[in-house]
């Protein structure tokens, strides 16, 4: 039997393969969901630029055959803000993780959401720092173990989708790697939303989170995600106690409103006849 080639391989920089992700990592599922979501959307792959910070998920843009900016830890959204405002014609996609977006980059996350800048952010939340070897993150569930929480985490984790919703994003959804179809659909919606779109993809990390938390195999990790997911609608009828340890999935916000680049462009058009100075670094004179 011939091996069926992945239909999305055409989007990859094949000269960079093999990738560095561990066997069973959720990054591959999210990448597939992204390409599926992209193909289902009105966005042209040739018009996509990617930005990421530091961490396992932030390595994804490096494997995708597009312009990609692999930035400093936590700051992807700052760089993406400049990239997008500088040339609003690009479709800018940000790949980030829970440590990158919610910890070191938390401030940038809430402000990018507040400005409703037209970015599509895919946050792969595996509840742990994978790249540095399994330390707890701001989304690690209470009681979970990491190399820096040998007695179990005592902190209350961030609910990222709710945080970004509260901060003003116009599209927010959360799914897991056990929901690839829904995830792809949410990515399509996020790409088509003109505003800040945040798609949280809760993912397994067999190597670190799994090993420390009795979810050693990818299957165990994904079964866990599936078994503990509760749709947003169902969750609304559940008590706080019933929701402990559950992952609420679904759409958290879908409320389009004016975004940053449009406001910037309006300001230029109100004050200047020449329009936005897109790619003006290449101009001979001003």
């Amino acid at each position: 039997m011939a091996v069926k080639e992945n239909p999305y391989k055409k989007y990859l920089r094949e000269d960079r393969l093999p990738h560095i992700f561990c066997p069973g990592c959720g990054n591959g599922i999210v990448m597939n969901a992204f390409f599926k979501g992209l193909e289902g959307s009105d966005v042209d792959f040739d018009n996509v630029s990617m930005v990421s910070g530091i961490g396992c998920s932030s390595r994804i843009p490096g494997y995708v055959k597009c312009d990609s900016l692999h930035t400093t830890h936590g700051r992807a959204l700052s760089f993406a803000t400049g990239l997008k405002v500088g040339n609003p014609n690009q479709d800018v996609v940000v790949f980030t993780g829970d440590g990158d977006a919610a910890s070191i980059g938390g401030n940038h996350l809430i402000h990018a959401a507040r400005r409703n800048i037209d970015l599509t952010v895919i946050c792969i939340n595996n509840n742990i720092y994978g790249m540095t070897g399994g330390q707890i993150s701001p989304t690690s569930p209470k009681g979970s173990f990491g190399t820096t929480a040998p007695y179990g985490s005592r902190d209350v984790p961030f609910d990222l989708a709710s945080l970004v919703t509260a901060a003003g994003a116009s599209y927010v959804a959360r799914w897991t790697t056990a929901h690839p179809m829904q995830l792809a659909k949410a990515i399509t919606k996020g790409l088509e939303n003109k505003g800040f779109s945040f798609i949280e993809a809760v993912s397994q990390c067999p190597t670190y989170y799994g090993r420390k938390n009795k979810l050693k195999t990818p299957v165990l990790g994904m079964d866990y995600l599936k078994a503990n997911s509760v749709t947003k609608r169902r969750s609304e009828k559940m008590s706080e106690e019933e929701l402990i340890g559950k992952i609420i999935v679904g759409e958290f916000a879908n409320r389009p409103h004016k975004e940053l680049c449009d406001n910037e462009e309006d300001l230029v058009n109100e004050n200047y006849d020449g329009g936005l100075a897109i790619k003006s670094a290449f101009w001979e004179e001003f």
Binding site: N47, T81, G86
Partner: protein, 381 residues
């Protein structure tokens, strides 16, 4: 048409940025640089550009790098604590060879220090502030006109060498008003896209010796990967190979060090027969000139070397002056920073004297004259 205006140094900086083609500014309010952001917020929409007030200085430095890769010239301005926050992303700009301009209107420090007072105490941070080995370009204006001119120059150097360029101004220059002459046109260095032969593989970091490669914008179709990790000529991470890292970092340094003669800029006055040379940069130069002229009237063979570009430090020029001069005096609004460089270059052949002054107030001409006389009288002894 040439235009004359009576403006604040910080406003001149913003006008220079616009003249140089800056069309993106990201910044965060901080004294004494804030007027630059305020002026950019007025000027950019009138010139087709965008201004974004970011959530902090880290984000500001990141945003201008992102904007630069979108294909617009970009700048931020800050002071004191703000420049400390920007250091990590400055290093990212260095390794990714991103042209950006960072204005630092220096204030009394460390920490929150003296927000409304002047200093030159970030000079070593300009050189060594981000982690790792790298070289940097920094310009220090001493007048409102120079703040305009040097901002333009900073943009040109940033494009030419694909490097973050720092304009190390200070509160005195930022917060004084003087006449500014705005020429009807200025020379600008434009960015040039790569040109590929048919079938040629694009190698974004395959730079010539001591040089840089043309830089495309995102969206131009080159599918460039830009990373802060050590990368090969393709731009791909290659972090465990000693040779890749050595080649990359040495080239990043050499493109500045080996082009020093083109980058360094300075002004010599009364130096021909000078036995004592007062070396200055930035606002203290203004007091130096008065002091040197007065000392000359008293028959002291003293000259002035005013350095426009503290980084890279003009070793050759100083060495040349040290052939004749026995003493160098350097006034700095700090407790001794650039004087270490002067010591390094001239210390073997001449005596180096620091007039370090902190507290926020510029050296007076009398203070410098006094030092010149003291040095001159010791020479006689």
């Amino acid at each position: 048409m040439v235009e004359e205006r009576f403006v604040l140094g910080n406003e001149a900086c913003a006008l220079g940025a616009i003249a140089a083609g800056c069309r993106f500014f990201a910044g965060y309010p901080i004294t004494p640089s804030t007027e630059i952001a305020e002026n950019m917020s007025v000027l950019l929409p009138k010139n087709g550009g965008s201004f974004v007030q970011m959530e902090d200085e880290i984000a500001s430095a990141g945003a201008i790098i992102g904007a630069s890769w979108s294909g617009v010239k970009s700048m931020t301005a800050t002071s004191g604590p703000g420049i400390s926050l920007m250091q990590e992303n400055i290093g990212y700009g260095v390794i990714t060879e991103t042209p950006i301009v960072i204005i630092n209107v220096q204030r009394g420090s460390p920490s929150t220090g003296q927000p409304t007072m002047s200093s030159q105490s970030d000079m070593m941070q300009a050189r060594w502030g981000s982690h790792g080995d790298y070289e940097t370009i920094a310009l220090s204006p001493s007048s409102v006109q120079e703040f305009f001119d040097f901002t333009i120059k900073a943009f040109n150097l940033a494009e030419e060498y694909r490097v973050p360029v720092l304009v190390m101004s200070d509160e005195v220059v930022g917060h004084m008003r003087e006449k500014l002459i705005i020429p009807d046109s200025v020379d600008i260095v434009k960015r040039v896209r790569p040109e590929l032969e048919e079938g040629e593989q694009y190698l974004p970091y395959d730079a010539p010796e001591n040089g840089v490669t043309p830089m495309p914008a995102f969206g131009d179709g080159f599918n460039v990967h830009v990373t802060g990790l050590t990368h090969d000529k393709r731009g791909y991470p290659d972090t465990n190979d000693a040779e890749t890292h050595t080649d990359l970092v040495e080239r990043l340094c050499d493109k500045i060090l080996k082009n020093k003669d083109k980058i360094c800029s300075y002004k010599e006055e009364f130096c021909d027969d000078a036995e004592i040379v007062v070396v200055s940069y930035g606002s203290p130069y203004r007091s130096v000139l008065t002091a040197v002229k007065e000392a000359r009237e008293e028959g002291i063979k003293v000259g002035s070397l005013k350095i426009d570009t503290p980084w890279p430090f003009p070793d050759e020029e100083i060495s040349k002056l040290a052939e004749n001069a026995t003493d160098f005096i350097m006034p700095e609004m700090n407790l001794g920073q650039m004087v270490h460089e002067l010591e390094r270059v001239a210390g073997k052949d001449a005596n180096v004297h620091l007039i370090g002054k902190i507290g926020g107030v510029l050296h007076t001409p009398e203070e410098i004259l006094e030092k010149i006389k003291e040095v001159a009288s010791k020479k006689e002894d």
